[in-house]
Symmetry: C2
Subunit: 324 residues, 2 copies
């Protein structure tokens, strides 16, 4: 791991500002959308930050492109490597293309086929492995050794997290006077960086996270005062199966991020509402945020809420409400 790009230290607000400037030539400024029907349903004023419209169809491009463009020319020459079953793999491949370097992506067997196809279409060199964390890390290590490529971890990477923080930064520049922000919580990179950016701008903003009940390690870890590491994720939300990292957990605690866990059924219902009312294709992991607002409406009532829709990469052939 000697060639790892960075430690998993949390980014500072200054690093998030640097990231915003660094990725500006590559990333899209995504729109913020509203829906009178969803506002009425939730009793709140919802401002949806549409990261499903980001390059690669997810906010992950922000972190990946910040990491890729933070490398020196010498570091970048041999390319980058990551392990990802989803949007980070695509994002890293697209970011590598913008710099003209190769991207190796280790993909576990059993990953969502639509996402694997997207990773390949984005230009990555695919490496398949067994579906365990150990196998993923071992293969990524091997590739580093063999090629000299730099590891860009999906969330335990300061530059990746700094990039993810630019979504909230941008949202707060687009919409003034937000009372609250909510993001999904998986590995916790987005939630942590969002907290750092938001509280640097306005310490009074209330912060929320949404996670699947079948991967509710962040909520449990906060409740128990220590990181839950034994949970085996069981959720349709393929983007949120990662367990939260230790430093990310610290950030959620420091910034009083209130995590709400929702069932997959609640997320699927929320996903349909987002498709019907916003006319946007969002993935089920992204819909956890609306599901959380609908589940705990009193926490959001009458407030001006920023809602980060993280991605829109779905397999149209197997939509969750048609399954079973």
């Amino acid at each position: 791991m000697t060639k790892a790009l960075a430690t998993d230290a949390l980014p500072s607000y200054a690093q998030i500002l640097d990231a915003a400037a660094r990725i500006a030539p590559h990333a899209r400024v995504t729109p913020v959308m509203r829906s009178a029907a969803l506002d009425a349903l939730c009793g709140a004023e919802l401002h949806f930050k549409c990261e499903n419209l980001q390059r690669g169809g997810a906010f992950k491009f922000r972190g990946a492109s910040n990491a890729v463009w933070s490398l020196t020319d010498a570091q970048a020459a041999a390319g980058v490597v990551t392990h990802s079953s989803g949007n980070h793999g695509t994002a890293l491949a697209l970011a590598a293309v913008t710099r003209g370097i190769p991207a190796h992506v280790v993909v576990p067997h059993g990953a969502v086929q639509a996402k694997v196809d997207a990773i390949e279409r984005a230009g990555a060199i695919l490496h398949r492995c067994a579906p365990t964390q150990a196998a993923r890390e071992a293969m990524a290590d091997d590739i580093q050794q063999a090629t000299g490529a730099v590891l860009v971890h999906p969330y335990a990477n300061t530059q990746v997290m700094a990039g993810q923080g630019t979504a909230a930064l941008e949202l707060l520049q687009q919409v003034s006077g937000l009372d609250a922000l909510i993001t999904p919580v998986g590995g916790g990179g987005l939630a942590s960086a969002t907290a750092i950016a938001a509280h640097a701008i306005d310490p009074s903003i209330a912060l929320f996270g949404a996670e699947p009940l079948g991967a509710d390690d962040a909520q449990r870890s906060l409740a128990q005062g220590q990181r839950v590491t034994t949970l085996v994720p069981d959720t349709l939300c393929d983007g949120l199966r990662a367990l939260i990292g230790e430093t990310n957990l610290d950030a959620l605690r420091t910034h009083h991020v209130d995590v709400i866990a929702v069932s997959d059924e609640e997320s699927i219902a929320a996903m349909q509402l987002l498709w019907s009312e916003l006319k946007l294709v969002v993935e089920v992991s992204s819909a956890t945020v609306l599901a959380a607002i609908l589940k705990q409406p009193a926490r959001f009532a009458g407030r001006r809420v920023g809602v980060v829709l993280t991605g829109g990469n779905v397999d149209l052939q197997s939509l969750p409400w048609n399954a079973g």
Copy 2:
């Protein structure tokens, strides 16, 4: 029909400009989106005008709100009436709400349930009738007689057409230097008004229409030099089953609108591409335009093309690629 709002005369460019000013407080300025992947696939530079993000989920709100706000207070008092199995019904109901007047909508049995639900949710007074043109018109007549409501025809209405023309007007203000424009063709209100607006701004813009092969009366009428009236529509594109109106046909001829007919299979494939690449929910009728470009790429190659995505009201429970 003495209380009809207007004749079916084509709108002038001045009327389209008036409509834009009249509906500005009510309608949304919809975004224009791009996709590098779709550009590469088509060999053209495509600028998608996202009317699926218009109020009510379709461009129809432009025409309906222009018609409703063109009425005098005395005319408006008793409300409005129309017959529609789809987006025009919702649009008229929403427009009526903005003016605080009732909207009666005659809906034939057999209409898409998601659209009927939307018409009702928008606040319309629903009247069901047999699924024939005669039954629709007879019931709308009866309602006019009984209530004094003003008929707002879905497309054979000058103010409605003037409102529809504002989509192209707005697109040409948002994107400069377009070489071509393409819209779907049903009754022809949108296609006619688009032609009038576009050629007033730049007479060199090439104009295209897309229609389903199962309702290809516009293409046949242009080829035969007279309006085909005997065709029985057979297409999944529920928004494009209306036969083209006589004056609209004249407009297509005058403005050299080149109509391309596409199969439902081609439209369904294009619909999936739009969902996957733009992350937008668009209905199958809207996807005819991309299907037409993919079918006749030589007509668009290397050009800067404005593509009007007309609506996004779909029944998520029965998507066409899951049928059969």
